[in-house]
Amino acid sequence: MKPDFAEFLPLNPAVLQILLALAGEDLHGYGIMQEVLHQSEGRCKIGPGTLYDNLSRLMQNGLVHEVDGPEPERTRRRYYRLSSLGKSVLSGEIDRLEKVVRDGRSSLSARRPRRV
């Protein structure tokens, strides 16, 4: 039986950043760190310990696969790719976050004091 993506939600911030980094292209470990730094405009930096702990669990759960890198790197570095389950989980999390933002905005506007 295929695992339901909803059981992985909500994602912790580090996992979300890693999945977002891998959404665009296959990356090696250091590439993921750099991409996370770039996407968060320098605000979020994850260390190798955190990265590989999360990557190891993501691979165990089938959200990320290890793949061969491009030819010059093939012998040295391992590359990681988002699986179809990983893509479903990521889009599910983005939908969830969108709903949180929508609900938050509507709650804030409801409480805004009316101008007389």
């Binding site: 090696h28 470990g29 250091y30 760190m33 930096k45 260390g47 190798p48 310990g49 955190t50 590989y52 702990d53 990557l55 190891s56 165990q60 093939r74 012998t75 040295r76 570095r77 391992r78």
Partner: protein, 362 residues
């Protein structure tokens, strides 16, 4: 200093995690050192050790594939259908529970009263509820079945590698677990054992510290030449000695992991014997020594040369003994093989030239 500290932190991770990600973590740390942002990674590494040691349970171990039996050899075999072995803690708990149950049942059957006595299938002392056994019905049999166990053939690569690792001390030092494979982890942490090899503390490794052995009475010019040859002929030493000056400097030691990765021809992250052994001549000399050198002193005595296993090699061994002392050393054997190889190549070149000049004679 910071790198050494980080390497220690990585080595404190559970083996499974370290083997899988350790090399990459240190590679990232090296890159961050160059960018000057390595300090935070030390904290991250320490947190990771705590997380992996105490918060993450180790995944079940994969089942070891069954060893294929030799063709024609029939023997009972067992197969585990599960993809993974149970956790070690589960095995211990299961064993303790089984022991407890067995002890409890045994105790209840022997000491209990009433129906439990009916469970007894044997007793040290005669009891009314135990049926007597008539042993007269058991025939005296003399077992005639013979069991022959075929010992597996030794792997020639393994034997060759064992001798080669004995010759090149540096390789023996790198191979921390003694499996004659320089693993990814041993490559990443290569600098530390290499620094330990520097016995005179001059900050660099010379040929003797790498395993070069030579007679003291030989002309210093010849000794120096042999020393340089030793550093060039062995692929691992050649890779480490980047500037080819016959010494592995401190800078070259620091860059050892990068230099060693260049030898990984099949890209599996580790160095197998086939990747560290020198090609042709030296591997052939080591192979001959592995077959004939019984006392492992890297020289073939007259007695060892007379061994029937020498066979067709005897003329080679006799001509290798250039100084006529009746002993063929590893160096003499290598020189002889080099000479023969060079002669063969010259003859082939001459033959090719003759055929080019006189195509009709072909």
């Amino acid at each position: 200093m910071r790198r050494a500290l980080y390497t220690i932190l990585v080595s404190l991770h559970p083996r499974r995690f370290r083997d899988r990600f350790g090399a990459e973590m240190i590679e990232i740390f090296d890159a961050e050192i160059r960018r000057g942002t390595a300090a935070k990674l030390l904290l991250d590494g320490a947190a990771s050790v705590v997380r992996q040691r105490f918060l993450r349970s180790s995944p079940p171990e994969p089942v070891i594939p069954p060893v294929p039996l030799a063709h024609g050899l029939c023997a009972p075999s067992f197969r585990i259908l599960d993809e993974a072995l149970p956790r070690r803690s589960a095995l211990v708990n299961g064993a303790l529970l089984s022991l407890f149950l067995a002890f409890g049942l045994g105790f209840a059957a022997s000491r209990g009263s009433g129906k439990l006595h009916g469970m007894l299938i044997g007793a040290k002392y005669p009891r009314p509820q135990v049926l007597p056994v008539d042993r007269a019905s058991v025939m005296q049999a003399d077992p005639t079945t013979e069991v022959h166990v075929v010992s597996p053939k030794p792997d020639p690569w393994d034997e060759l590698a064992r001798i080669y690792f004995d010759i090149v001390r540096l390789l023996r030092t790198l191979d921390a677990d003694g499996d004659r494979i320089i693993s990814a982890w041993e490559i990443v942490t290569a600098a530390s054992p290499l620094r330990r090899l520097d016995r005179d503390g001059d900050g660099e490794l010379d040929a003797e510290e790498c395993g070069f052995v030579w007679d003291k009475g030989v002309d210093p010019t010849i000794t120096n030449r042999a020393r340089m040859q030793f550093m060039r002929i062995h692929p691992v030493l050649g890779a480490l000695d980047a500037d080819r000056d016959g010494l592995i400097s401190l800078k070259e030691i620091e860059g050892a992991s990068i230099a060693l990765r260049a030898l990984d021809k099949n890209g599996d992250g580790s160095l197998s014997p086939a990747e560290v052994l020198p090609e042709r001549i030296d591997s052939r000399a080591a192979m001959i020594l592995s077959r004939l050198d019984k006392d492992r002193d890297r020289r073939l005595s007259a007695q060892e040369k007379a061994n029937e296993r020498a066979g067709r090699l005897r003329s080679l061994l006799d001509s290798a003994d250039r100084n006529g002392d009746g002993i063929a050393t590893a160096a003499e054997l290598t020189t002889e093989l080099q000479l023969r190889d060079a002669t063969k190549r010259i003859e082939e070149a001459a033959k090719g030239a003759r055929e080019t000049l006189n195509p009709k004679r072909k």
